[in-house]
């Protein structure tokens, strides 16, 4: 008679390695066990596929049910679950698509959906110094730095993922995300800002200049440095509007300000 530990180990081994022989000593020898094992494999596979479908609803919609299910099986073989809490189960899915030499569009859409998933439940707190900093923020711009908030992600992209994301959103219930207005016609898509503002996850398509400025802000540049960058990136008469965009919602929710000691 096997010990409980042995029973659990051989069953798990059989499930993950796909070998019935490993678990035969724990199960009845009347042939019924084969049907049981097949059903459990199916249930477990379905669970993981469902978790990925919830995390990557737009990707699943884009590639179709059959292809997505195949991807889910491949992903689980490469990146099995490591926790009883499945929130982070799909974390490596974009990487897995990349390893597959997958289409860039799919990889980048997966990155965007993972960012939305994380931001949805990220910590609400802003940098603690924000109120003090905002009070005197512009008094000495060289001593005030941007700090990215935890419910924020900045993504670089090389394909027009924002338009794809927006188009796919139109046919869904939104999933708690705010698709916002129709995307502005940006000449080159360079980046996306994923931010939680006013309680919803919002995705903002960025021009190359906006992306560079936000990237600098994320890296902790001072207000003065960002102002100089804006002046260098665009003609003088457009610099103010570029900076103004950073101070409007939803972008404003992405950053706090911190005064250097």
């Amino acid at each position: 008679m096997l010990r409980l530990r042995e029973i659990q180990e051989v069953f798990a081994e059989g499930m993950t390695a796909g070998s019935y022989r490993a678990m035969a000593d724990a199960l009845p020898s009347d042939g019924s066990a084969l049907r049981s094992v097949a059903l459990y494999r199916r249930l477990i596979r379905t669970n993981y596929t469902q978790v990925l479908r919830i995390t990557y609803p737009l990707l699943a919609r884009l590639v179709g049910e059959r292809f997505f299910s195949l991807c889910a099986r491949g992903y689980h073989a490469r990146y099995p679950s490591t926790s009883g809490d499945l929130f982070a189960y799909g974390r490596h899915f974009p990487q897995w698509l990349l390893e597959l030499d997958g289409v860039r569009l799919l990889v980048q859409l997966a990155r965007l959906e993972w960012a939305c998933h994380e931001v949805h439940q990220a910590d609400d707190t802003r940098a603690p110094a924000v109120e003090r900093a905002e009070a005197g923020a512009w008094a000495d711009p060289s001593s005030v730095r941007f700090r990215v908030n935890r419910a924020t992600r900045l993504l670089a992209c090389t394909v027009p993922i924002y338009r794809v994301w927006h188009a796919l959103q139109a046919d869904t219930d939104g999933g708690g995300y705010d698709g916002g207005a129709e995307p502005n016609p940006v000449p080159e898509e360079t980046g996306l800002l994923v931010v939680r503002a006013a309680g919803t996850v919002q995705v903002v398509g960025l021009s190359p200049e906006q992306f560079l400025l936000l990237h600098a802000m994320r890296d902790g540049k001072t207000v003065a440095q960002v102002e100089r960058m804006a002046a260098e990136l665009v003609p003088a008469d457009q610099g103010a509007s570029l900076l103004a965009m950073l101070l409007e919602e939803p972008t404003r929710s992405a950053f706090s300000l911190e005064v250097d000691p």
Binding site: M1, L2, R3, L4, R5, I7, Q8, E9, F11, A12, E13, M15, T16, D25, A26, L27, P28, S29, S32, A33, R35, S36, V37, L39, Y40, R42, L43, I44, N47, Y48, Q50, P80, S81, T82, S83, G84, D85, L86, F87, V119, H120, Q121, A122, D123, D124, T125, R150, A151, G176, R196, G199, T200
Partner: protein
């Protein structure tokens, strides 16, 4: 109406709280007595889920039904998971906290499925020690739920009902009796559901689950994706007359219908509870 955590969940019907219904529940709170949710869905550090649950908690008694603790695993208890569970319990003060009499991981391998334990003396010692440990950390009694199983272990000599009864006796935990699981197991393995129910200590049954199943080949599978079947309603009626009325949850996790369907099912459960001739404990 606000609700104090010291108020027990009434012996009436509640529904499972799922994100698809958040908006509708907040805009027009449905006429159900309480709600239940998976605490793991609120392990995040912030964002809309926690805010929404706070609003719902201010209007309904709440119950937490865990799915990720792997209570029966022979691995060490996942202290991180347990700490997160404690944190959301402290924050939302649910009336009940339940987990499954099952395991889902071993040796660092996670299957994330509610796998049955073999009913042996060794398993009994093991699960009782684990429940003791969890109850000590959470500082409250746990309800344990009978699970569906799609296999029989080669060595499992103790009847499942007697196994649960002894677990209750040793640990002081309560029972969350899932009648759909009882029915599904009875059909799949040609068992008498009443034998199982007769072995349970009535006073330990604190909550009932009702759900629907699907048929996969020769198996009935506990998918929580259908309305409660007439056979399960029949079992429920029998159980409520036998044990007395208990807080009863309509569980629905897949193939999610409009909220109104869940409310209709809860109303049907309430009608049965209202007709019970045995008083609530």
């Amino acid at each position: 109406m606000s609700w104090s955590p010291s108020t027990p969940i009434p012996a009436q019907a509640g529904i499972g709280l799922r994100s698809q219904h958040f908006r509708e529940i907040l805009e027009a709170p449905p006429p159900v007595a309480w709600m239940e949710t998976h605490p793991e869905n609120y392990f995040g550090e912030g964002g809309a889920p926690l805010r929404i649950l706070e609003r719902i908690r201010s209007q309904y008694p709440l119950s937490f039904h865990g799915v990720g603790l792997s209570l029966g695993s022979t691995d060490p208890l996942d202290r991180t998971h347990l700490a997160k569970l404690k944190c959301v319990i402290d924050r939302f003060e649910p009336a009940f906290v339940s987990e499954h009499l099952s395991w889902s991981s071993v040796g660092g391998r996670f299957l994330n499925e509610l796998l049955p334990l073999p009913c042996t003396e060794e398993s009994l010692d093991h699960i009782c020690a684990r429940i003791d440990d969890v109850q000590t950390v959470l500082q409250r009694p746990l309800l344990i739920e009978n699970v569906t199983r799609y296999l029989t272990w080669r060595d499992s000599p103790i009847p499942e009902g007697a196994f649960m009864a002894e677990t209750v006796r040793r640990t002081g935990c309560g029972i969350l009796l899932d009648l759909n699981n009882v029915y599904v197991n009875a059909v799949n393995f040609h068992l008498d559901p009443f034998e199982f129910l007769d072995e349970l200590p009535a006073e330990a049954i604190r909550e009932i689950h009702l759900a629907g199943f699907d048929r996969f080949g020769r198996w009935l599978v506990d998918t929580h994706g259908q309305a409660v079947y007439p056979e399960v309603w029949g079992l429920y009626q029998w159980a409520m007359h036998r044990f007395g009325p208990r807080p009863t949850l309509i569980e629905w996790d897949t193939n999610m219908p409009p909220l109104s369907v869940l409310v209709e099912q809860a109303t049907q459960a309430d009608a049965i509870l209202g007709g019970c001739c045995v008083a609530a404990p």
